[in-house]
Structure formats: C-alpha cells, structure tokens
Amino acid sequence: MSRTAAIIIAFVLGLFMMIQFFIPHPAVTGIYNTLLDIKQIVLGCAFILGVLSLIRFHAGRIRQKQAGGWYSSAALLGLAVMVVMALVWGTEDGPYRWMFNNVQAPMQATMFSLLAFFVASAAYRAFRVRNLDASVLLAVGVVVMLGRVTLGTLLSWDIGGQTLSLAGASEWILHSVNVAAKRGILIGVGLGMIATALRIIIGLERTYLGRD
C-alpha cells in the first residue's frame, strides 16, 4: 500500500513539475513555489538524519572498541564542540569562527593540497610511451600542462607566417577537442536522465523505493 502511494505521489508530482514549465499561470506557479519550499524542508530534515546516522555509526565503533576507535571519538567530539560553540556564541564571531578559520579550513586545505604531490608522482609513473594511445595521451597532457602556464605562452614558433605556440595548441585542445567529447557525453547523459525520469514517473523504475 505504502509503495503504491509513493508511486502515485511520484507520478503526480513528476508530471506536474514537467507540465508547469509550459504554464506560467500564477496558480500553477504558486503550487510550484510551494513544492520547492517543501523540498527545502525535506532536505533540511535529511541533514538531521545524516547527523543521527553519523553519531550512530561512530558510537557503535566506540562501543565495540574497534581498532582506531579514538578517531571516532575525535569525530564525535569535533561535532559536539562545533555545535555547542555555534549555539552558545553564534557563528558570526567568537570561538566557532576561530575554530573554522584556524582548524577546519587549514586541515581541509591541507588534505586537498596533498593531491599535488600524488598527482606529480602518479603522472611520473603513468605517462609512459607504452603504445600509440598512451603516447597520444602523454603528448596532449604535456601540451595542455605547459600551455596553461607562462612557459607555454613563451614557447612559440613562426611557421609559414603563422604563429604556433604551446598556449595556442592548448587552447585549441580545450576549446575544440575537449568540447566535442564533452558535448557528446553531455547529450548522452541528458538522454539517460530523461529516460530515467520518465521511468520513475510512470512507475517502471522503483529501486528508489528500496526493498520491501
């Protein structure tokens, strides 16, 4: 019964959201705005579910005394400290802001910065002229990498009255070859999204409902 109700709701709302695009009447727009407001509330509630799930997961690890359980303690402590500081002193100023600027931001930035080291190491190991495909990938990678920095603009040659530069070659790859490939992918993705949406609306696709 509940599955049938969910399928009916998906059908009615899906159909409405599709049709409303073509009917700019105030009554239709009013319903559309209300649905968007409800969506915001549902997503807000999803955050509460997320936090509860996080607490449950880490509390379970601590309770079962699993290896590395103190990482879970640190996660829960961090969550509790930030929530308490935000509730007591607010987020505009005070300890919450200090913690964000001096603990969270540097840690997050550091984690992402490590990518530069791993990318350099991975590029050194992976870009080898093993076959034609790998050689083309390597050549394109080198042209784009150098073309995106100052050296690429300095390396240019006059050939038959035409100026050929690494920066120019890089631009051409990004503006033409890249766009052609991406556009093809995007059209494919778009068609897939339309097909999936239609399957959900007419009730053929039910995996989003989960198991019975």
């Binding site: 695009f21 727009t29 559309y32 705005n33 968007l36 407001d37 969506k39 915001q40 997503l43 807000g44 999803a46 955050f47 987020t91 505009e92 802001r97 964000f100 600027n101 969270q104 931001a105 540097p106 840690m107 997050q108 930035a109 984690m111 992402f112 910065s113 530069a116 080291f117 990318v119 350099a120 190491s121 590029a123 050194y124 190991r125 870009f127 080898r128 002229v129 390597l138 990678g141 080198v142 990498m145 150098l146 995106r148 920095v149 100052t150 050296l151 603009t153 300095l154 920066a167 631009e171 990004l174 503006h175 890249n178 766009v179 991406k182 556009r183 995007l186």
Partner: protein
Amino acid sequence: MFSAQSIAEKLAALDRRIIFLLVGIVVLIPLLVPLDLPVVVSRETRDFHDEIEALSDSAVLMLAIDYEPDTMAELDPMTLGVLRHCFRKGVRVVALSLYAGAPGIAQRLLEKAAGEYGRAYGEDYIYLGYNPDWSGTMLRLGESIKATYPKDQWGTPSVDLPLLKNVDSYDDVDLLVCINGSKYAEFWAAYAQARYGQRMVSGNTAVMSVFIYQYYNTGQISGFLGGIRGAAEYEKMLGLPADGTIAMGSQSCAHVLIVLLIIAGNVGYLLARRAKRKGSI
C-alpha cells in the same frame, strides 16, 4: 661507474619521496620569493572581466560562493577579485552559498573586501547564507529571493535589508557569478540561465574548468576563470596583483617539474626497454 642500464633503471623508478621533495620545493620557493612571470590574458577571462565591468554603478550582482576550504587556495583569489571589482565600481553584491563549509569563507572575504573599499553591510552588500537545497534554491531565486531566504546569515529578515528593497528575483539581478570547485556552475547554467535567462559567468578550479568550455562556446556562460591561471589573469586585468599572481609562479614551476619528471621517466623506460631487447638478442 654508471652503466646506461643503471641510469635507465634509476630514471624509470625514482623514489616517490624524491618526487614529493621536489614538488614541495618548486611550490614553496615561488610563494616565498614571488616570480615576476608574464601573464597573457585569455579570451574567457577577458569576457568574465568585461561582463562585470559593463555593469552600471548601482547594478546588482549575485555572487554564489559555492566552495569549501579544500579549494580556497584556488578560488579565494577569484572571489576576492570579484568583490574588489564590484566594490570599486559601486556594484551591489547579493552573496549566498550552497555549500555547508562556505559561510566561514564568505564572511572572511566579504568583510575583507568591504573594509578595503568602505562598503556597508545591508546597503552595498548582503550575505544570505547557506541553503542545503541547491537545485531548489537555484530555481526558487527566480521566483523570489526573499521567500527563498527569509533571513540573512545573521538573522536579519530579508525584507528589512535595504539592498533587497527593489530586488526580489533574477529579473532584478544584472549578473550572476558562481565561484565553485564542482559541477555547480553547470547547474546554475541549467536552472538560472536556461530557465530564467539569467546572464552569468563563473570561476572554477582548473580541474572543473574543462567542463565549462561547452557552455562558454554556446554563450550560456558568458565568461569564466579557470584555476589559478584565470585568477592571475583577472588580477592583471583589474590591476590588482594579489594571491592569484603569486600562486601562478608555483603552478608554473610545478607544471614544468611534472613535465620534466615525465620526460625522465620515459627516457628511463625507453633505455631499459632497449637494454632488455639487446639482452634478449
């Protein structure tokens, strides 16, 4: 002493700690001793700059600060550049975020740029804060900003904000700028530009900028900044060299190092393959 084969083997299998050390050095030195490298402005950056430059003194710009601290090294220079550009011209800024970690960044950058140009909160700029429903927000803003964000980040009712007195939807926004390290620029293009015809530009991390060219070529995104290079180019056009220009030195050196490492690896690989073939004959 050193045979061709041993050199080949060493080049083909450099210890990763040596690579990490080299990357650390080439990234760090240009940050400590900035290199004065020439910056050539690309078409997309020029268009990004010109879109903001073309705004009138009292125009309204919506700035979506859609990133978290992980990408702030690349994106903060862009956000700061946009804010300085707007505040210098007198363009009013309606800022908002669709990323949970963004409000701290937005607050810091807004206060910094506003302080430099003496701009007042509520009159010259506002920050509406974070909304978890990204697609719903992008669509709802086309109907009503005040209904989407009944209060600003600090709890002031939107209806009491002087800047929003005559501003309540995309119809009243002259330009949308999305600074992001994800697919959000594409989503803004799909929901705000395609649905409501909102003119927009975007600032993206270098990785994500490859996805923007197709929207730029069709005119859906009127201009964009790609990574640190885009930020450095934009700073050059503004005549305000800052963190983007300095970081460009690091990026240039790092790219050259990676290319040199690739060449070294391949020389080693080819020499080793040649030696192996000779050995097998």
